[in-house]
Amino acid sequence: MNAFIFLIAAQSAESDGQIAQIARTFGVDWPHLGAQIISFSIVCAILYKFAYRRILAMLEQRRQQIALGIANAEKIKAELDKTESQRLEVMAQAHIQGSKFIEEARAAAARVQQEETNKAIAAAAQIMAKAHEAAALDHDRMLVELKREVGKLVVQATATVTGKILTPDDQRRLVEETSKQIAV
């Protein structure tokens, strides 16, 4: 330890000599240098008190604002994520509800279609029944007309033929029949 101290002292003594030599070489004026150091320190103290602290405070404020902005951004992002999840959930619910509505609408449409089909079938059956009835009536009417026409033709033919084939005996017999009718 002592040896080390002696070595350092020897080196410092040796270095003092070197420093002084260098200072002399470069023209260092120790009092002048000390005054400049003191004045520079005073300037640094003044700058630290009146400028640097304020700048640091402003920088701190900026940093806090930035941190607050980042926090807000993160909050906004979280809100956005939450909103997105809610949107997705709402969309899913809307999809489910829409699907449900579509199914209900399809069921209602099928029911209405079935009802309309039944109505159409009933109307068609009614129309068919009326048509059958009308056809039957027309058929009966035509049969009656045909019968009447046939009867008329038969009577005309009979009248034409009978007048020619009736003999005087037949005429007499017919007259006597009418006469007997009165006598009864």
């Binding site: 038969v154 009979t158 009248a159 009978t162 037949d170 017919l174 007259v175 029949e177 009418t178 009718q181």
Partner: protein, 130 residues
């Protein structure tokens, strides 16, 4: 021309006066008409109109129209007349007529009574049955 109830009533009384045993006496009817005309009353025309109507009805009820296709033999005519008199009594006037459109048989009309034994009537009935 309006015939009043009074004219109808009086015409009916005159008409009854002209009946003898239920038959219309033509002479009485003529006398009635002459006397009514001779009175010259204002309502004699409606009275005589109704009287004429009653006389026409009487004539129609006592007139038998016998229609046939061919002229009837005399014996047949007599038989028909006797049958009609038996049914409607004496005083029946008979008129015989020919109607070829009857085709065959005979048609007798006495007032509103019709005895139609013609072929035409039979065919008409046949035509109605269709």
């Amino acid at each position: 021309m309006k015939i009043t109830k009074k004219a109808k009533r009086e015409a009916k009384q005159l008409y009854r006066f002209c009946l003898v045993n239920g038959l219309l006496d033509e002479n009485r009817a003529r006398q009635v008409v002459h006397r009514v005309v001779a009175t010259g009353e204002r309502d004699c025309i409606p009275l005589l109109a109704h009287f004429l109507r009653l006389v026409k009805l009487n004539r129609a009820q006592h007139t038998a129209t016998i229609e046939s296709t061919t002229p009837l033999a005399v014996d047949v005519q007599k038989a028909v007349q006797s049958n009609l008199e038996r049914r409607y009594g004496q005083g029946l006037t008979t008129k015989f007529a020919q109607r070829p459109e009857l085709i065959g048989g005979m048609r007798i009309q006495v007032g509103c009574d019709v005895y139609d034994g013609s072929v035409r009537a039979g065919l008409a009935a046949l035509e109605k049955s269709f």
